[in-house]
Symmetry: C3
């Protein structure tokens, strides 16, 4: 799986239209490049449909949404749907404000997503249609644990049935699932929670991997999540603090080899 997915990324590199937030956008662009794709950022409603048309895939991340960009996200999403481009959705902070929760609902109503990625609080909010999150990080109580993992997979699979999207819940333990096949991924390091943007960067990697593997969305998303965690483990060993962790994380992704990832992957498949 790893070799095929990464081989296709290299052979058919994606051009990813990123509609993301201004906090982590630079890391997203550099991570997309590091992972073998190319990014283009554009968020004005008068150009997003045209821009998305020349791309392979689209990321919609509501990390710093506003009235202007929400309209542009809807337009770009619909156009990407028309063109059959995979669209990745990150409902950042859904549950933290009505604007975010309502925008997530609206986007789910108007755009068909290939992958929805968030932490467990955000995915729960999207699932429930409402919720209360603490900031943009998952509530402590809201974590995937060895105890509740079955329940979490069932929630994600229900959401997958309703939306037609692959669902990725990321955190200490990651779940990537479609309606019936789930991958549980245990790569990563707790220190990754101490830098901003790991989720947003992962959105971009997923978009690139899925764009180059359109017939294997689930596997491409799972490999992307696994690759991020694996690079994080290596980065942790090399870093001296949180900022060098971020640097090494992107460095590792830029040097990632399929055979190493295959050896380092901690992925369990459940049907």
């Amino acid at each position: 799986m790893y070799r095929t997915i990464l081989h296709n990324v290299k052979q058919n590199p994606s051009l990813v239209h990123c509609m993301t937030n201004y906090v982590t956008v630079n890391d997203v662009a550099n991570m997309v490049l590091a992972s073998g794709a190319s990014p283009i950022m554009a968020d004005d409603k008068s150009e997003v449909e045209e821009i998305t048309s020349i791309c392979t895939s689209l990321v919609i991340n509501i990390g710093t949404l506003n009235a202007r960009t929400i309209e542009a996200m809807v337009l770009a999403g619909k156009r990407a749907n028309l063109l059959g481009h995979p669209v990745i959705f990150d409902p950042v902070g859904a549950g933290a404000s009505s604007l975010r929760t309502e925008t997530a609902k609206r986007l789910l109503d108007e755009v068909k997503f290939s992958v929805i990625r968030g932490n467990v609080s955000e995915i729960k909010t999207v699932y429930a249609g409402s919720g209360a999150t603490m900031g943009v990080d998952a509530n402590v109580a809201d974590a995937v644990t060895e105890e509740n993992i079955g329940e979490m997979i069932r929630m994600a699979q229900d959401l997958s049935v309703r939306t037609g999207a692959v669902i990725a819940i990321t955190g200490a333990i990651d779940i990537v699932t479609d309606e019936s096949r789930a991958y549980i991924i245990r790569n990563g390091d707790p220190m990754m929670a101490r830098i901003t943007g790991t989720g947003c960067m992962l959105d971009g990697i997923i978009a690139g991997f899925v764009g180059s593997n359109k017939d294997h969305v689930l596997e491409a998303a799972a490999v992307a999540v696994c690759a991020m965690g694996y690079c994080g483990e290596n980065a942790k060993r090399k870093c001296r603090g949180t900022s060098s962790l971020r640097m090494h994380l992107i460095d590792e992704m830029s040097c990632l080899k399929a055979e190493e990832l295959e050896r380092g992957a901690k992925v369990e498949s459940r049907i």
Copy 2:
């Protein structure tokens, strides 16, 4: 002082609502995380009141202000005041344009701040209600020196009386003062002036420290300023140029220990 302030940061970590500029926002988020708090960025007027309600403290930094965000800053500031959350104000570039000077005035009229932090030009502008700064860096002529430090403290204390805020003037020599008690801090390295965002990052650290030490705003702000300078000194010793200085600065903050800071602090108290 150092141990108590940092202990409280760890025991009761803040969630900091950052309304800051798009130039340094990523460094701010990573520095807030490195210093032990969590950041959330939101600037749309339709959600800022709700977002600030779930937070501990608020940063208002006018580094890249515009008509849309100014209104949101006023709304968030007023809500934070109602809730008793500390609000940190950074009048970036006050004096460099009428928009900035007038916005600073308006914010001071409509919002009660716990801490106002800026370079000496910005604080002078806020004090005088007008001024001429050169860019976002302090005028060379506008520096706190051993000669004028008494005068600078008096200006800051007058401003503290007028606003009720702790005033932090940062530069080669830092002053942190309330109406009567001043700390003079001589940590830091001149090379820190060669990277962007040290002031904005410091806003975020202050917000986190004050949010976890609401009864000791002056001390928390002084420890934050001291910690930034101390980490800068260590980063200077490890770096090869300005970009690695930035990385080491955040790395050092993410590993900071109270006992080391206590030993390294160059803080003089004046009553």
Copy 3:
């Protein structure tokens, strides 16, 4: 040439008003500082004329343009023209959307530029008044090669005649030319294409160098392009991946010495 240009940068440091994109703006600010100038970012139409008035030079980069900022760019550009400040234009993604292509046209109609810098696709679009680019990176077919270099120089010189600007086409081989004198620069490393923002950072360096060398715009732009490539070569030798490449690139610029650049420069002059 190198010594004089860099000497003037140090003796008369520029204050660069950067109207750039939110993707790479932090790198631009840090690179401007590393190269010896100071940056100020401001994009609201109610302040850009005032801000540009206190600056030495202006960068207009349409990387993430929108209706609000386009108007501000026109206003700032006209004011900089009135004041005789050099204005650097980067038509990012011209050809990728009508908005970008039309905005580039409008800016060229309303503002007089000192330097226009882009990749070959963007410059071709500006030259032709239309075009089709792939993302923000040059089309593979659209590269300056040893074979087409003469043709590329002629195109750039035609554009220089029409606009009065120095034209910089950057990529594996760089061309910097006015109406008649061309520099061909072969510094740099292919790995630089794997990080975002090298072009945007270069805009800022050019603005600083030209602002301190107003009577030698062509030479200042050529030295800036050469310095960027030279620092990239050194950074490549020190890095472990793409993110550390970015860090070392800025580090190298912050330590650059004229005599070393002179030795390392791979610059050919053609009249």
